[in-house]
């Protein structure tokens, strides 16, 4: 097997080649920068040539990353267990879709996936950067080189010394279709965070204070959409199949993707403000730099092992902590160093006189407040997530309770919802309270109506009623405006309002489903209806559910189908709603064959008003009634107590002379003494074992003279001299144990209006996409210098 460990895998070579060509790309673009035409002049032939060379080198960089990714995927799909990574995360028992997902099941693969998306996005970046191509591409490529260096140090192409027959398989928790789709979207979002960062640094470098915003804004919206989608997918996965009881747990891994998203949402608002008013430049530069640094910091938190004791899914240290720290420090130093360097040059207010006249109740102010609130949310979450690190400095590491996030975000949500309700009615020119009041009359009335509905629905917390009122008004105000835009056939420009409609709906859903969920633990005996809240639940039977979701009985499984081979045990529970509708829930409870882990997946019935969430807790197959005495294990000469009576095992007599219907029969007679020393009586129960025929055995109990008790042999090991004997009739209560029923214990959670979270998110995303298309078009049309 020595041949296996010789030489470098082509994938590793591709990564090294990417590292070199990436560095060369930066150098060539730097050369182009020196040849760049000054303000509006025709580009020189030298510049065009240098840019062309830079692009070809970038293609070499990107294609080597793509090649490395293809090689890893090929190794995974072809079960090339020579590779440590393939053996560690995949196995022959996985269907193709799950094999695809093993690519990003480990740290190295997920880093590669991140860079893979970065490489692809880069082609669009240099096309969209136009006049800013050279400086943007230098920063953009640099922002990935650190991770490529980690991959070169720790490539996923390491060989094993021996060739295993099969891999270790994929963690059963990750064997889910969401695992196939969620990480790629997440890493596409991560990778896209490099784009605003690159534009911001290029802006500082080249003093392009406003041009960068035009070019980078569609990219910030791209991040908003992809990262947002990925975050929500993760939440949905946690909710629907992982059985974590909810879609959000404020876990560090979740938080570290939420913080850059919030920073990006703030950035989008800030960019809009800068584009329209030509000021607030500093805040956008800071936000773009911070958003990228946050994703690096989050990667450090979750992959260095520093949070290993604080997170459900943080990785262990791969020996790259130092590298990650170096990359973060580098990014912060370059980012904030350049900010400091240019700080005094950044034009603050081109038109100070006009600014002084800007009234308080203007759209600018609302935008500033939005940026402030979103940043405050990001800072607070970052603070909470970093708590183990912060407290480590002063003593023992500690983590904040999740209530920290809920307490701090309740007022944030309230103010956000209130701002949403105002935004459509406040113009740039400014308003008076009276003019806003007039315009917002309808939406305020709808908000109040929402508050009344909340009261009628039984919500008694003043705080919750208030937030729901604001959400109602925010929804109505933005919906009103969206409809107006549709009527005016200005669909392309209504993205912002549409997003706000989604946000108002989401906030209401998050609040109601979180605060008003009801959890109950119940034990369901087989075929016996149990009332859970207003629903009647009946556990019917255990069944098997295959990978395609088809319910089968054990005999119906097709051993030729992988989906059937992978079928999992589930419990069929009938849920009858108060309206009489019956739904069959199939919460799964099964043992993963490979790891022997007990796995549980919930089942959810979703209706627009209420989700019923059935999560398995335990299953007891039940036992028929049986007669059972006290069982003793005795060695020769040993004495033990059974219900206060001494039992001593003396010896075996083995008789092999008998035959029964042609089969050899061994009759074992075990000799015991029962009773107190001196008054002990001999008792000799028998065990007759038929050899050959599957080892059937028949016990012949023997009564204990002078009592109601008897002894029955259960097992005999003549060679070791050990007898397993059951003492019957000693207990006053009798030996008969009543039958225990087959029962299934479940946690039943009802979550009202959780559908609003998903619905709101779809609308938010649709608005984000509309805005992205519009801003991309704007950027394409504008010729900047």
């Amino acid at each position: 097997m020595s041949s296996l460990s010789i030489g470098y895998a082509p994938g590793t070579l591709a990564i090294w080649f990417a590292l070199l060509s990436g560095a060369a790309t930066c150098l060539v673009y730097y050369r182009a920068l020196g040849l760049a035409p000054a303000g509006g002049a025709e580009p020189s032939a030298g510049y065009a040539e240098a840019i062309g060379f830079g692009r070809r080198l970038y293609a070499a960089f990107a294609l080597s990353i793509v090649l490395a990714s293809v090689l890893l995927m090929k190794a995974l799909l072809s079960h090339d267990f020579r590779l440590s990574y393939v053996t560690s995360y995949s196995g022959r028992d996985l269907p193709t879709s799950f094999l695809l997902s093993t690519f990003w099941a480990g740290q190295e693969g997920s880093f590669l996936l991140w860079v893979f998306f970065g490489a692809l996005i880069g082609f669009a970046v240099y096309l969209s950067a136009r006049e800013q191509e050279a400086p943007v591409m230098i920063v953009y490529v640099l922002s990935f080189l650190g991770i490529v260096a980690i991959l070169a140090k720790q490539p996923p192409f390491r060989f094993l010394a021996e060739l295993p027959a099969d891999g270790q398989g994929l963690n059963p928790l990750l064997q889910d279709y969401w695992m196939v789709i969620h990480p790629p979207v997440m890493f596409a979002g991560f990778a896209s965070l490099s784009v605003p960062f690159a534009f911001a640094l290029a802006a500082l470098w080249q003093r392009r204070w406003d041009g960068w915003v035009v070019r980078a804004m569609p990219w910030a919206l791209f991040t908003l959409v992809t990262l947002g989608t990925a975050i929500l997918m993760g939440g949905y996965w946690a909710y629907k199949t992982l059985g974590w009881g909810g879609y959000w747990a404020w876990d560090p891994v979740e938080n570290t993707s939420l913080v850059p998203w919030l920073a990006t949402v703030a950035l989008v608002h800030g960019m809009f403000l800068q584009k329209t008013r030509e000021k607030h430049r500093k805040i956008n530069l800071i936000l773009a730099i911070v958003a990228y640094c946050c994703i690096l910091y989050g990667t450090f938190l979750t992959r260095s092992g520093v949070l290993a004791d604080f997170s459900v899914h943080s990785f262990v240290d791969l020996g790259i902590t130092g590298w990650l720290v170096a990359i973060i420090v580098g990014a912060l130093a370059i980012g904030f160093g350049m900010l400091a360097w240019r700080w005094r040059e950044i034009p603050v207010d081109p038109d100070a006189a006009a600014d002084a006249e800007e009234p308080f109740l203007s759209r600018s102010v609302l935008f500033i407040l939005a940026v402030t609130l979103l940043s405050a949310s990001a800072v607070v979450i970052l603070l909470g997530t970093s708590s183990p690190l912060i407290t480590r400095v002063t003593g023992k590491p500690a983590q904040v309770a999740t209530s920290f996030y809920n307490i701090t975000h309740t007022p944030l949500a309230a103010v956000m919802a209130l701002l949403l309700a105002f935004v459509p009615f406040v113009s740039w020119k400014g308003e008076t309270w009276g003019s806003i009041g007039k315009k917002a009359a309808t939406s305020s009335a709808i908000g109040l109506l929402a508050g009344v509905v909340a009261l009628l629905a039984g919500i008694r917390s003043a705080k919750d009623v208030m937030i729901l009122t604001f959400c109602g008004a925010g929804l109505a105000a933005n919906l009103e405006t969206t409809i107006l835009f549709v009527r005016r056939k200005a669909i392309r420009t209504m993205g912002g309002y549409l997003s706000h409609v989604g946000v108002a709906i989401m906030l209401a859903g998050i609040l109601v489903s979180g605060v008003y969920e009801r959890k109950e633990q119940v034990t369901l005996p087989k075929d016996t209806p149990v009332m859970v809240g207003r629903h009647e639940m009946t556990f019917r039977r255990t069944v098997l559910v295959n990978d395609d979701g088809v319910v089968k009985l054990p005999g119906e499984l097709d051993p030729a189908q992988l989906a059937d081979i992978r079928a999992k045990q589930a419990m069929e529970v009938e849920v009858k709603s108060p309206g009489g509708k019956v739904w069959k829930a199939y919460p799964k409870m099964y043992v993963n064959q490979r790891t022997n882990q007990m796995m549980a997946n919930p089942d959810v019935q979703s209706t627009p008003l209420l989700d019923i969430y059935v999560s398995p807790q335990s299953y007891d197959p039940g036992q028929p009634a049986k007669s059972e005495g006290t069982v003793l294990h005795l060695k020769k000469g040993e004495t033990k107590l059974a219900e206060g009576t001494l039992v001593k095992f003396l010896s075996f007599d083995v008789d092999m002379s008998q035959m029964d219907a042609g089969a050899k029969v061994v009759a074992v007679t075990a000799n015991f003494e029962v009773g107190p020393a001196g008054a002990a009586r001999p008792v000799s129960p028998k065990l007759i074992v038929r050899l050959g025929g599957g080892g059937d055995q028949v016990a012949e109990p023997a009564p204990v003279p002078g009592s109601k008790a008897s002894l029955r042999m259960r097992k005999a090991s003549a060679s070791e001299g050990i007898a397993e004997v059951e003492v019957l009739g000693l207990s006053a209560a009798g030996d008969t144990k009543p039958a225990t029923p087959e029962t299934f214990s479940v946690d039943v959670t009802t979550k009202p209006l959780i559908s609003l979270v998903w619905a709101g998110f779809y609308i938010l995303t649709a608005g984000g996409i509309l805005a992205m298309v519009r801003r991309a078009r704007d950027a394409h049309r504008s010729a900047l210098v």
């Binding site: 030489g7 990574y85 992982l242 974590w244 500033i368 959890k519 882990q597 999560s615």
Partner: protein
């Protein structure tokens, strides 16, 4: 316009103040088993699951189990009434966040660390190598 900045600043300061006060109040320190018994507040403890100590009480709907300190072998009984985390039984170690109440730690939250997290390194231990590419 200046008023706008002031409004923003006031809001920001308000939230940061709220954040910081809540921060120190909702902190759950990591402690040893002895300290957890005395702390009188919500703490975090970590330990291995003692084999066959798990017991589900149908009547109170509570999961009882015992954690063992991997170093000192000290034990700590824990009670937990929420949804049992997946692959609880296979945990390499369990983090319990909760408060000591008389005879057991009443956990609000459990974090379960599974052996699969260590997969990569185990493979190379088992089959040798990680031989440079």
């Amino acid at each position: 316009m200046k008023k706008g900045y002031w409004a923003g600043a006031v809001l920001l300061l308000g939230f940061l103040a709220l954040g910081l006060t809540t921060f120190s109040r909702s902190m759950t320190p990591y402690v040893g088993f002895d300290e957890a018994r005395k702390a009188g507040r919500t703490v975090q403890v970590m330990g291995g699951l003692e084999k066959s100590s798990t017991h589900y009480d149908q009547a109170t709907k509570t999961l009882h189990f015992t954690l063992v300190d991997p170093k000192t072998k000290a034990i700590l009984p824990v009670a937990y009434s929420d949804v049992k985390p997946a692959n609880f039984e296979d945990a390499v170690s369990i983090v319990a966040i909760g408060k000591w109440q008389g005879e057991e730690l009443r956990a609000e939250k459990l974090l379960v660390k599974c052996p699969s997290k260590y997969q990569g390194q185990e493979t190379e231990k088992a089959y040798g190598g990680g031989a440079k590419s």
